[in-house]
Symmetry: C2
Subunit: 379 residues, 2 copies
């Protein structure tokens, strides 16, 4: 976006990945910090375990799903000491699945082994208002828009005391009515502090909240575990910060979560997301997509659990900035029953609107030793 | 270095951080992928939780250790969705401790609360030879250089079958003699595969190896735990890949490790390293520095556990490329008993040799929308 605000809205910029091979084109999207991820793609090699991402991708064959796994494995073998690698791989992996889907004429969820994609109940994912009154209005509008589930997060939550948070939670419930699913997202604001998180439980229980999300920073297994063992009544959700499989595995097995939330744009793409979904199903933890950006990212994040019928809930962004809105020509919209589904189309089923995006394109140039190693390609 | 080889030698490039404030200058070093970390420092903000690192640093006051902690906390609050942030913070945090030490005239370990720095037994840390014969020669030379401890890692280990690995381990022991500490570093080559790691145990036990390091990727708690519970006899070491406190905490508490290895250049600097050292001491896990680069990085990595007398072992790089050798004017050398110590000098006690480094300086320029947002500063 021409201007980026200091708010918890991840739709304000985008890094798209376009991969061309054999006459086909696949698109993916990485979550957050485009410039840093671009740098990780083109940077000079530091040593054996710190190679740029391009090393594992360019010139490789993509004929079947094993080829995609090989590229994912290659990044993990050749770039593990490049911290940003997993975020960059995410967009690459998503684009590869899209590309292979287009080549084979199959939706990605078919390629993943699911015979069909089941309907998901979308929750209208949005930021808290600045005041309880504003949160109430947003909830009221969401209810009027016939959403049966809503999530409020970030904004002032956790920053202005427990009474203020209680007022926001109440306002959200009052605006949505008693029948709706209401989720509350603390946005990691309590860091590792269990007591601060526990103070919010009474209001969450009074409002019959469906889950309490990310009270703590990702991977703080002890804090999650302690909170889960303190009989919080409300279910715990987390995991969007996981950037590889073993981190998600630890959150599933050691954090006392009921819901594991995975962003395909961060964890390493659809390949790793599917591995996490398989584990979640095995461990009776409910898998939920994390998506706060475009419908391209939404389609990518839905694929990994499209075929898991009982994993019903889906994050659905409703406050996208125009950039994120315009990325896909097609939208994933609610059906008459209020459900969404992964598109029944080849690949991810989203056509990137390159014409519309031209006005947002940011020119970036990276020079090393006087030589240009990256320049923004034309759309 | 003018040329970077595809080997597990992290001393082939360097990202130095220089911070100036109040007439003082502090220096730090980040591990791996300089361009990516630079990008994370100057990138445009993506959203509230994805700000460039400069946001938390520039213009801030540095008068006492609380100011350093505030900057570390600020990065964790404002940049948690920027994956590379912890690696970049590492160099910044190290430079801040160096700067504050110079301002106060105190060694960093004093500022951390240690009354003195205890001697550490350095192990000569190096790569396996390409053949067992070469490993034998390297071990022989290390023994001749009067090192009482050695570590071999990476190279062909885990890539040419168990017999080859066995031959290398044997060769290392034979070259060093029976009295030396011998550590073996698998360099995460077995990914999460416990059986592959277990196959190496017989040779490790026959050679009386002191520890078996990083058989698996960082954070694979299940694999570490399973291996540790299978009565491996040899102690397990790991943790260099941790890029924040909670990851190290999980490795200490859930992985069955005997040794936790922390790189101050990756985990977020000296601030987070010290927090891990405190936890390790509490949990009776031995803290060891991870260092495969310069003596500036070595001094930084020693500070966090300088005052822990019983945490005796120290990684000591012996195959540094000339770039890494020339970073510091002073070297941390063994005393007559073969021990090393964190320097008893203000800050980190290492003067960066800017004159010597001029020949290695790589010109980098990053332009966004036609405006230069980063250009390599002059030394």
């Amino acid at each position: 976006m021409p201007g980026v605000l200091d708010i918890g809205d991840g739709s304000q910029d985008a890094l798209l990945v376009r991969i061309r091979a054999g006459g086909f084109e696949g698109w993916g999207e990485c979550e957050a910090s485009p410039l840093t991820s671009i740098a990780s793609y083109v940077c000079p090699m530091s040593h054996r375990a710190c190679k740029p991402l391009r090393y594992s991708l360019e010139g490789k064959n993509i004929n079947d799903i094993q080829d995609i796994r090989r590229i994912s494995d290659s990044v993990h073998e050749h770039s593990p000491d490049l911290l940003q690698a997993d975020h960059t791989l995410s967009g690459i992996d998503i684009a590869l699945w899209d590309l292979l889907g287009k080549k084979t004429g199959e939706p990605v969820f078919h390629l993943l082994g699911y015979s069909k994609s089941f309907p998901k109940l979308p929750y209208a994912s949005q930021l808290f208002g600045d005041t309880p009154e504003e949160t109430f209005s947003k909830a009221k509008k969401t209810n009027a828009d016939r959403f049966r589930a809503v999530k409020f997060g970030w904004g002032p939550f956790g920053k202005r005391g427990n009474d203020n948070d209680t007022a926001h939670i109440r306002a959200a419930r009052e605006g949505m009515g008693n029948d709706a699913y209401l989720m509350i997202d603390a946005g990691t604001v309590f860091s590792e502090n269990v007591l601060d998180a526990q103070k919010r439980l009474a209001a969450l229980n009074d409002a019959n909240a469906y889950w309490f999300e990310e009270p703590f920073i990702n991977g703080s297994l002890n804090s999650y575990k302690k909170l889960s063992e303190s009989n919080p009544k409300v279910a715990l959700a987390g995991g969007e910060g996981c950037n590889n499989f073993v981190q998600a595995q630890a959150m599933i097995e050691c954090a006392g979560l009921h819901f594991i939330q995975i962003d395909a744009g961060r964890i390493g793409g659809i390949t790793i997301s599917k591995k996490v979904a398989d584990l979640a199903a095995e461990k009776n933890i409910t898998y939920v997509n994390h998506t706060f950006t475009s419908h391209l990212a939404l389609s990518a994040s839905l694929q990994a659990y499209a075929g898991l019928k009982d994993h019903l809930i889906s994050e659905y962004p409703v406050e996208l900035k125009s950039l994120a809105q315009e990325i896909g020509k097609e939208k994933i919209l609610r059906d008459t029953n209020g459900y969404i589904q992964a598109p029944e189309k080849p690949g991810l089923g989203i056509t990137v609107d390159t014409e519309a995006l031209k006005k947002y394109l940011v020119d970036v140039e990276i020079k090393v030793k006087g030589k240009t190693i990256y320049a923004t390609p034309r759309l």
